[in-house]
């Protein structure tokens, strides 16, 4: 890159020369055009506010809603007789529910006539530990043992084990179904074309939105919970499998082909082994997504820790929500490290990858990044045991495990987690007094924050979005998406707006959009500040990134706990939780973008003698703008999925309708319509932001 010699001071003119490669988009006058659109919108709003806002009363149903209700009623009516709904689904559900109860009797809950399960805590710890040893190695096994012990120490043994069992069940089914689908997609273009849009919808529709539908089909209970979990967890696995197979280098495939391998042989001997590690990254993502959904399936009586968290949340008992929340976090970290360890076992480290797409992401293309140093370094120097030694170790530990299982069946202390070790209740009290102390000392402050953002930002924006006539709002959206994204996103915007209008929830969609926009703006402010910092400083990166990685593995549900503790139930709580949930991914993407600015450019700018702030504002941020757009895109989708869960803690509009649709019989159809609206809103925002990101890159 040749850069013209800079003058001593730094007038804007130089900068135009500094960054010629990103200067192209400015010729589109994006900023100016956006201003024009907004100005027209504001004028229109002032003249026309309050007209045609399509504000429909909450309990009023339209024909689409009642149509959906009728379908639901027909399914329910036939659920005892119909060959499909009763014969296959009903009996299948009953069968699976019964098998899972057997599994619980075996491992987690008192089984008939016994005060304890068939296998007590010691046996379960040994069993989990040994299985991990066989699948993922020694370190992972230690982690699993410690994690499993924490279930009892924190006082939620049964629900924790149940959570793990449901996650494992869902992951196994996902692998059995998802990997072959991914393989088929990589090998046949038409399969990929057919499946990708389905995955898009599955990932853009907030998970809570399809819960009522599944509850009607499968009936409330474990089967429904498992099905929901699979639907949520399978897309990342399918996508990453496809990506892994496709990214096996062309030359390798050609070389293998020239050796006379059939397509089947090629797959089994070349592509699958080479993509194996990427596929396990997919399993990792699938597992974390499954955990995050399993917690939410409490709404359909899914077993496990979600029950405890939700009870704590509804009783406003922060401690009782936080301790099971902590166990969920422990499970997330252990599962994450275990699946990562499984992918690394027996292999020298070379270009290790982890996926950026965490649970809840709706990435439609797989973005891979290097795992952080702290995660990959530990194994670099590890010496691997020889196969013979490994076999001996496994055999010996197997005997130990069997003895533990036997003992835990026989002695009460080894079956029932000793209450002397249970620190759960103390921790609950400690957390409650701590959170009360915080709330007592910050409640005027938090109230001020809430009021400043509500009155200064949230309410005016809501007024603007929800009180502009729909027929003005749609062209405004079209114009915005055209200006920042181009023609394709504009068409998406038209289609999505039409869907929202057709299902009749325009006004509620605008209210939800307001909360989403406000939360996303807050996320981006945080992400840019912290992202620039850790993007520029290696030391800050080493310290902060592990936390971001860890936060990213936490299920969304967990973030409601601190938000509720500080702000009480309200729409603002949902926004705070959404910000907490979305900012790790956005921050990482911004940081990567800043770091990705080519070194020669940075050096050249530095040699021109610009200040640090000029460097950030005029060089690094503008050049990282595609990464920032991607960060905004991801942040937005995370926020949207959280805004819905916010319906559980007092958020209004679509999230509330979705939750009500689940819990109020006559609102079923309307709740489903709200789910469709959310998906449309998500796709509209996603496509526009993604087009903007692509444009920045080009």
């Amino acid at each position: 890159v040749s850069v013209s010699a800079p003058p001593p001071t730094l007038p804007p003119v130089t900068l135009k020369e500094e960054a010629p490669r990103v200067a192209a988009p400015t010729s589109r006058h994006t900023g100016r055009n956006l201003l024009i659109v907004v100005a027209i919108w504001l004028i229109g709003y002032v003249i026309l506010k309050g007209h045609d806002t399509l504000n429909t009363p909450y309990q009023q149903l339209n024909s689409f809603d009642t149509w959906l209700n009728h379908i639901r009623d027909d399914i329910v009516a036939s659920s005892q007789t119909n060959w499909f709904f009763h014969g296959i689904i009903g009996n299948g559900s009953t069968w699976l529910n019964a098998r899972f109860t057997n599994l619980q009797d075996l491992l987690s809950q008192p089984s008939a006539g016994r005060p304890v399960p068939q296998i007590g805590w010691l046996g379960v710890v040994a069993l989990f530990g040994w299985l991990t040893l066989a699948l993922a190695g020694f370190r992972a096994s230690l982690m699993v043992i410690a994690g499993t012990l924490s279930f009892g120490i924190l006082g939620y043994w049964q629900d924790s084990v149940d959570t793990v069992l449901v996650v494992l069940l869902a992951v196994v089914v996902s692998i059995v179904v998802g990997v072959p689908v991914g393989i088929a997609m990589a090998r046949r273009r038409w399969v990929s074309r057919a499946v990708t849009p389905v995955l898009d919808v599955m990932q853009t529709m907030p998970s809570v939105a399809y819960i009522p539908f599944f509850a009607v089909i499968f009936g409330i209970g474990l089967t429904c919970a498992v099905m929901l979990t699979i639907v949520y967890a399978i897309p990342p696995l399918v996508r990453i499998t496809e990506h892994g197979l496709k990214s096996v280098s062309e030359t390798t495939v050609e070389a293998a082909g020239s050796m006379g391998l059939t397509r089947g042989q090629l797959l089994r001997k070349v592509q699958l082994p080479m993509a194996r590690r990427t596929i396990i990254v997919g399993v990792n993502q699938c597992t974390l997504a499954a955990l995050s959904m399993v917690v939410l399936t409490v709404l359909v009586a899914g077993p496990g820790l979600g029950q405890d968290v939700l009870t704590g949340l509804t009783n406003l008992n922060v401690g009782e929500a936080a301790v099971p929340g902590l166990i969920i976090v422990i499970i997330a970290i252990v599962l994450d490290r275990t699946t990562t360890a499984a992918s690394e076992r027996r292999e020298r480290t070379q270009g290790r990858v982890g996926s950026v797409s965490g649970p809840g992401v709706m990435l439609t293309s797989v973005v891979l990044e290097r795992l952080p140093r702290w995660a990959s370094e530990e194994t670099r120097t590890r010496r691997l045991p020889t196969p013979a030694l490994r076999r001996t170790i496994l055999a010996v530990t197997f005997v130990v495990m069997v003895v533990c299982v036997y003992l835990s069946r026989t002695y009460l202390d080894l079956a029932q987690f000793p209450s002397a070790w249970n620190i759960g209740p103390h921790l609950v009290n400690a957390i409650n007094s701590f959170s009360n102390w915080i709330v007592d000392h910050t409640d005027t402050f938090t109230e001020d924050v809430k009021n400043v953002i509500s009155y200064g930002f949230l309410n005016p924006l809501q007024e603007l979005l929800a009180n502009t006539p729909w027929w003005l709002m749609v062209p405004v959206f079209m114009a915005i998406s055209f200006v920042i994204g181009g023609l394709k996103p504009m068409i998406t915007t038209v289609v999505c707006s039409a869907i929202i209008l057709a299902v009749g929830l325009w006004n509620d969609a605008m209210v939800t959009l307001t909360a989403t926009v406000v939360a996303t703006v807050l996320v981006m402010i945080l992400a840019i500040v912290i992202g620039v910092w850790i993007g520029r400083s290696r030391r800050a990166d080493t310290i902060i990134r592990p936390f971001l990685d860890a936060f990213q593995t936490f299920p969304s549900f967990v973030y409601l706990i601190p938000a509720l503790a500080l702000f009480g139930p309200s729409r603002f709580t949902a926004i705070v939780a959404a910000v907490l949930y979305a900012f790790p991914i956005s921050t990482k993407l911004v940081a990567d973008g800043i770091r990705g600015v080519a070194a020669p450019t940075v050096e050249a700018a530095q040699s021109s003698g610009i200040t640090r702030w000029q460097m950030i504002l005029k060089v690094q941020l503008p050049m990282a703008r595609s990464a920032i757009a991607l960060a905004a895109n991801q942040g937005l989708l995370y926020v949207l999925s959280m805004v819905v869960i916010g319906g559980l803690v007092g958020a209004g509009a679509l999230g509330y309708i979705v939750v009500s649709g689940f819990s109020q019989d006559p609102l079923f159809g309307k709740g489903l319509a709200a789910g469709i609206t959310l998906a449309a809103l998500g796709i509209m925002l996603d496509r526009t932001a993604r087009a903007a990101a692509d444009r920045g890159r080009s």
């Binding site: 046996g123 699948l135 009607v216 019989d665």
Partner: protein, 345 residues
């Protein structure tokens, strides 16, 4: 585009690699199988100091899955029945956290056996009791339910005419909050609770906005802080309710309820009268009712007063007792009533 091989000569290295992978997978699944089998085999062994509960083994109760709807009064019913079923009948009791209406679905699906405090739901009665015949009415709980809008005592003292709904608009500006969009705020409970509030506000032309508080605990907290700080609050609330012994909330009188649909329409969007009085009842799934479980008679016999329920609810919500402990305390003090419930089990 697929290569058409003439021979299938395998490169030796690859074959070995494949064989190794396959073997490893086989061995692993084998090991897991062996582990599971061993664990199960050991399950058959007895010994040690774990004694099987003879009463439970001998009882004909089996599993009892009780829906747990999320308000404290319901918890009181559920824990008392659950504890009696566990201790006296040897049932294997499980509490399933679920919202009201999904609990009906769960009974239909067979994953929940009983709802112990049901508030009306005529549409669901028709759907599941009359049509699908998967749910049965198991009789009254003896509790009388009231739903309405309440203000904290200080407001009723200072503004005595606020208890008439016709005056609500006069005071609307007082109830404004950051959440209520320039109107007065009417604070509601959990999204799953029985509520007509959105329709009432609209049909009575009230200048109010329904804002969702989230839960019973949130409502109680709001009333406590409103009374302590003398801030205005208008909120959805209900009886039986232990909290009334702490604070005498005052009910706002909405247009009087009448069972005549011409006076008081019943379509959800058209409702414009106060909530009807509720005679709370119990429900039981048909499958469970026919299972021969001794818990069926217990559930059908269960009957108590609002005061009884409030007592247990207060143990739980105010004194912070664990549900089963609260139930045990009440059961110990009311043996004769409990014995009546056990007749015929």
């Amino acid at each position: 585009m697929a290569p058409t091989p003439t021979t299938t000569r395998r490169p030796a290295g690859r074959a070995k690699e494949e064989g190794r992978m396959a073997r490893r997978l086989l061995r692993l699944s084998g090991l897991v199988g062996v582990a599971a089998a061993t664990a199960l085999a050991l399950s058959a062994c007895g010994g040690g100091n774990i004694s099987t509960n003879k009463k439970a083994a001998a009882s004909n109760c089996g599993n009892l899955n009780i829906a747990m709807n999320n308000w404290t009064g319901y918890y009181a019913d559920a824990y008392v029945v659950g504890e009696v079923a566990k201790d006296k009948l040897g049932c294997n009791v499980k509490y399933v956290n679920l919202a009201e209406e999904p609990s009906w679905n769960a009974m239909n699906a067979g994953t929940v056996d009983t709802i112990l405090e049901n508030w009306g739901h005529e549409d669901l009665e028709k759907k599941y009791i009359t049509d699908a015949k998967t749910v049965e009415d198991a009789g009254q709980t003896g509790n009388q339910g009231i739903i309405g809008w309440y203000v904290p005592p200080w407001m009723a003292q200072k503004y005595p005419d606020i208890t008439n709904w016709k005056n609500l608009n006069k005071y609307a500006s007082m109830f404004k909050t950051s959440e209520s969009g320039g109107k007065g705020q009417l604070l509601d409970g959990d999204p799953s609770y029985v509520t007509n509030d959105q329709a009432l506000v609209k049909n009575l032309n009230l200048d109010y906005q329904v804002v969702v508080g989230g839960s019973e605990a949130a409502l109680i907290k709001s009333f406590e802080s409103a009374q302590a700080n003398k801030t205005p609050l208008l909120a959805y609330f209900y009886e039986p309710q232990w909290f009334f012994s702490d604070m005498k909330l005052v009910k706002v009188n909405l247009p009087k309820y009448s069972s005549n649909p011409k006076v008081c329409p019943t379509a959800p969007a058209a409702i414009k009268c106060d909530y009807p009085p509720y005679h709370l009842n119990k429900l039981i799934s048909t499958k469970f009712a026919n299972s021969g479980s001794s818990a069926v008679a217990l559930i059908k016999n269960f009957h108590w007063t609002n005061d009884d329920q409030n007592q247990v609810a207060e143990y739980i919500a105010k004194d912070g007792m664990k549900g089963p402990d609260a139930a045990d305390k009440w059961i110990a003090a009311n043996q004769s009533l409990v014995n009546q419930w056990l007749q015929g089990t």
